[in-house]
Amino acid sequence: MTSPLAAGDLDATERLRRAEADQPSSPVARFGADEPLLLDSGAVLAPWQIAYTTDGTLNADRSNAVLVCHALTGDQYVTTPNPVTGKPGWWTRMVGPGRPVDTDRFFVICANVLGGCLGTTGPASTDPQTGAPYALNLPMITIPDMVRAQAMLIDRLGIDTLFCVVGGSMGGMQVLEWAASYGPRVFSAVPIATGARHSSQNIAFHEVGRQAVMADPDWCGGRYLAEGRNPKKGLAVARMAAHITYMSDQSLHSKFGRNLQDRDKVTFGFEADFQIESYLRHQGMSFVDRFDANSYLYVTRAMDYFDIAARHGDVLARAFRHTRTRFCVVSFTSDWLFPTAESKAVVHALSAAGANVSFVEIDSPKGHDAFLLEEPEMFATVRGFLMGAARARGIPGPAEIAEAPALQRAGA
């Protein structure tokens, strides 16, 4: 089966993105039939691949690697421009030279999640059995599956222990999963704006999004790639609904209020009279170019299935028994998608497990998205935590690194 991708209704951005699914611009680790990925569903994925970027330099004893885990619609381009949109890396405020996750000091790895659409095996990838995109033939993916895939990448890169695993939202779920399932390989962990399970309310919002995608006639029962179509409207609506959950009532109100969009009075019609409507429509439409609709279904499902305690007799503390990982848990006051109570449940479980844990609730009006935005308190917290952890791990600071070559020169 060949896909009539040449059909003229695909714009350049979308064509670019579809090409990235199999042949990403970033480095990619390919695993053959001899290195299958065992999935929680019982299915086996082989061959499969994981696309990633790195930044900074791995030190001689391989002790300074930091894994950054991205959120639902993120990607591996944490510090470098996204090849599809051309936009700068998604977390350059947090990661980079002199930033809290300092690439002058740490070797940063960020991989596209399993089920994603920018180079790691996902529903948009070509199924080697058929030569056509997997679409809904891809087995269901879970957060532990994503982490298992990352662990195999880390093995491939020759790294035994990660100095830190850090991420927000779904990235934070992966951080917790790393700590629960690969504790000895995680020296420190920074789960931000996240929880150890997806709440009923969160599942509800995801279901609305999935139903919006599947209600779009262009979804074609999931076979839109093979049929040269794209359920843009459904995916845009899913994104619009989700975007509301990333903000807060307060931030929406202060940003948009009831302001009208390019007009003095309401039109008595269904155009985007209000700025907030126009904003959401823009968010929806710009999202569909860079994201695959089936990926959205798979990855939201993975979040819904996430519940660490359920695998440990409903006692979260048991998941972290004997852990030696140092944790820094961060939440935001106005985040109603992953409210502070979810973070506190994690903190209490870690305390009960005798873990080394710090916890900060950042006062911010920006809602869930705060972790991606300018939040000086969050940066100070993560910076301080990583400095303390690096000291404990014996990773030299940037000043010491700068001195080292000078000493060598003096000795030579």
Partner: protein, 207 residues
């Protein structure tokens, strides 16, 4: 941050002397982490903290300490028995809602408990009450009665009888006078209660 060149609060020193090298320590109400940092430097402790104010917690984490935002009255129950060698309540017991409960929790979580507090039986407090007729406000007790986190002041004698009541053994006690010097240990409790401005107790469970 407290640097070694700066004078260290004498009550921190007293606490540090009660803690053994490399101990596991929980500091309940750790403020901005002065004590935890001092104990890490001086005693190499594996320290954790609980602090109610966000500003305090942020300051602690930013200086590399392991501290969670929480409440002594509510959040101690999450810790398992004997999770720490020492559970410390430094200048905090007077701000808890249920001092008796908190003290019991300290002795459950920690093998030993260290409690330091301002002594409301100090002669200066008594004089202000006797002659001023008003709740004392001083450098050490800077809040007005209506706007203070300190809701459960006690005297050294009150504290000793509370220890008795909950079955805590006083292993060591130190009282500091207004200028930070130790009140001689061979004096009777009544003397300590009059001249100790601050007190530091090392407690254990009676078997």
């Amino acid at each position: 941050m407290i640097r070694s060149s700066e004078p260290v609060r004498v009550d921190l020193k007293v606490v540090a002397e009660l803690v053994h090298q490399g101990a596991r320590v929980l500091d309940v109400g750790c403020g901005e982490g002065e004590l935890l940092e001092y104990l890490a430097e001086e005693r190499g402790v594996d320290g954790r903290g609980i602090e109610i104010s966000q500003a305090g917690v942020n300051a602690c984490v930013a200086r590399g300490l392991s501290v969670i935002q929480g409440d002594a009255d509510r959040d101690l129950g999450y810790y398992p028995d004997l999770a720490f060698d020492y559970a410390i309540l430094s200048q905090t017991i007077q701000a808890t809602h249920a001092p008796k409960h908190v003290l019991g929790e300290l002795l459950r979580i920690g093998n030993k408990a260290i409690v330091s507090f301002p002594n409301f039986g100090h002669w200066d407090v008594r004089m202000r009450l006797l002659f001023g007729g008003r709740m004392p406000v001083s450098e050490k007790l800077p809040y007005s009665w209506h706007d203070t986190p300190n809701i459960h002041f006690c005297t050294i004698r009150d504290f000793v009888s509370l220890c008795d009541e909950i079955g805590a053994r006083v292993e060591k006690a130190v009282a500091l006078n207004g200028s930070g010097a130790r009140v001689p240990f061979n004096m009777p409790w009544s003397w300590w209660n009059l001249f100790g401005q601050q007190a530091v107790f090392l407690l254990s469970r009676k078997e």
